[in-house]
């Protein structure tokens, strides 16, 4: 304990400050609490501003029982706030935040290439002849997470049949809207815009493959690929192209965006396959959102009985 005469004058607290020390401590504590509070409140769209549902869709009948699953769907808030849609930013929370700038009306789809009846068709005309079904599908992302989503749509094959593909049609190519003004993420060349995807003709005609216009009983939110998207449940999620503006039937294999971006990592077929790892991470397991432990990934995302036959005799390690 120092003697009072050893304490230098410079260390004596100013009386005014001394009397206000409690105030100082209070404001320091308040400052720290404020900092903590704002750090806690940081970006979580699922809680902060629950994503809005689109208009309800009525007259939806259940899909074929064979394609269903009794696994519980994920929460709508998760499906609509955790998205890979780089056209609106590369963070999972970006599409929910920024996709409001997408104008989904009016919308047309160009059907072209190896078809007898090509045309640019307004969306309502395109959809009119197709009764809508609910399809509860697993969606497995190449990043090794997955969700169960109750889509509303109809088989792609039914649509293609209307336009009468010619005998030369071996592949179906899809394109997303390219408009950096509506899709700010396209201002950076993270990928080569517009986003492109494609299927073999037999994959496109398969009854599992659907074009979706809604989910969870409502119209698709923008961040989920409104107003029209593809869902191919036995392939990695990036094949399920969103916000489609063009469908072209071709004789030769079309380019696809992720394959063009990193051909060693993303193939054309991109079937869900636990035996074939991504070069940088394993595909053996996945995190089903909402579950604690990872679960084993199933061949063809659990749709093997319906689609494995399409690939009989193909080396799926080579054609990943």
């Amino acid at each position: 304990m120092r003697k009072w005469e050893d304490i230098p004058a410079s260390e004596i607290t100013d009386l005014a400050l001394f009397l206000r020390r409690r105030e100082f401590l209070r404001s320091a504590a308040a400052g720290a609490a404020g900092l903590l509070a704002s750090a806690c409140g940081s970006a979580d769209p699922a809680v902060a501003a629950a994503p809005a549902r689109g208009e309800p869709i009525t007259g939806v009948r259940p899909g074929p029982a064979a394609f269903g699953t009794d696994e519980p769907p994920n929460r709508f808030a998760d499906a609509a706030s955790y998205n890979n849609f780089y056209e609106f930013g590369t963070d999972k929370s970006d599409p929910a935040k920024y996709a409001h700038s997408l104008r989904t009306k009016p919308w047309s789809v160009a059907i072209e290439g190896e078809v007898a009846k090509p045309g640019v068709v307004p969306l309502e005309t395109l959809l009119a002849p197709h009764p809508l079904e609910e399809r509860v599908y697993r969606l497995r992302c190449v990043e090794a997470w997955s969700m169960v989503v109750p889509w509303i749509g109809f088989p792609l094959g039914d649509l293609l049949a209307r336009f009468e593909p010619t005998s030369k049609a071996k592949y179906v190519a899809f394109e997303t809207l390219h408009d950096p003004e509506q899709m700010p993420g396209q201002r950076r060349r993270v990928l080569d815009w517009p986003y492109r995807e494609a299927l073999r003709m037999d994959e496109a005609m398969h009854p599992l493959t659907i074009l979706a216009v809604g989910m969870y009983g409502h119209v698709l939110p923008n961040q989920n690929g409104a107003p029209l998207r593809l869902v191919v449940p036995w392939k990695y999620g990036f094949k399920s192209i969103k916000s489609i503006v063009r469908i072209r039937l071709r004789e030769t294999q079309p380019p696809t965006s992720w394959n063009a971006s990193a051909p060693r990592e993303y193939g054309f077929l991109s079937n869900v396959n636990p035996e074939v790892d991504h070069p940088r991470w394993s595909q053996k397991k996945e995190r089903r959102l909402g579950e604690f432990r990872r679960r084993p990934t199933l061949p063809f995302n659990g749709y093997a009985e319906h689609v494995a036959g399409l690939y009989a005799g193909i080396d799926l390690r080579k054609h990943f």
């Binding site: 410079s10 260390e11 607290t13 400050l17 020390r21 100082f24 720290a32 900092l35 903590l36 750090a39 806690c40 940081s42 979580d44 769209p45 699922a46 809680v47 902060a48 994920n74 808030a77 998760d78 499906a79 706030s81 955790y82 780089y86 590369t90 999972k92 929370s93 990043e143 997470w145 993270v190 990928l191 971006s261 990193a262 790892d277 940088r280 991470w281 394993s282 397991k285 995190r287 959102l289 909402g290 604690f292 432990r293 990872r294």
Partner: protein, 196 residues
């Protein structure tokens, strides 16, 4: 309050502030507001703070020298230990919450996935640095202490590679860290700020 008293409180205040990200994550975890993939959010954010504190640690000496600010010196250890603390949080989130202690998966990942090899290697390098961070060890090791602690740069490089290699396509964020690290390495190599 007197400058000297403030100066004594400053290190504590810095550490207090440095704990805010971890506390915020804990609060968000309890409230269920970590988003749709909470484990990913936790892993990612603890990883980012590890890198930030590691780079802050590596920046202390160049800043101290070029700004002629001796008061910065003690913060080299503060930031280094904070980086280690966040690295432990990051590693244990991955081990416990992501892999659920599946040690075969851990081994497979460390051996077969370059980005995890880099991350794990970086973490391992930080361990002896954390253990020998005290003045006692500085004395015990003498000149060898300095040589050992140069491994902090290697840990930085491995951390940045870890981030670069795990990103799917958007390299913007990892490249920011990479350029800061490159700048610090350059400053080191050029011996900036040292009086001749």
């Amino acid at each position: 309050m007197e400058t000297r008293r403030l100066q004594r409180l400053l290190p504590a205040a810095v550490v207090g502030l440095a704990c805010v990200p971890a506390l915020a994550l804990a609060v968000r975890a309890l409230r269920g507001s970590l988003g749709a993939n909470p484990v990913e959010t936790l892993t990612h954010e603890t990883g980012e703070w590890t890198l930030r504190f590691l780079l802050a640690c590596l920046a202390v000496t160049p800043l101290r020298r070029s700004l002629r600010w001796p008061g910065l010196a003690p913060y080299r250890r503060t930031f280094g230990l904070l980086a280690f603390a966040y690295a432990c949080l990051h590693f244990s989130t991955w081990l416990m919450l992501d892999l659920a202690f599946d040690l075969t998966q851990v081994l497979e990942d460390v051996v077969e996935r370059p980005y995890i090899t880099a991350g794990f290697g970086g973490f391992l390098l930080l361990c002896p640095l954390a253990l020998t961070s005290t003045r006692g060890w500085q004395r015990r090791l003498g000149r060898r202490w300095l040589a050992l602690h140069r491994l902090a740069y290697a840990a930085g490089v491995l951390g940045v590679l870890h981030f670069l290699w795990l990103v799917k396509a958007d390299l913007r964020e990892p490249l920011v860290y990479a350029s800061v690290l490159a700048g610090l390495l350059l400053a080191r190599a050029l011996r900036l700020g040292r009086t001749p």
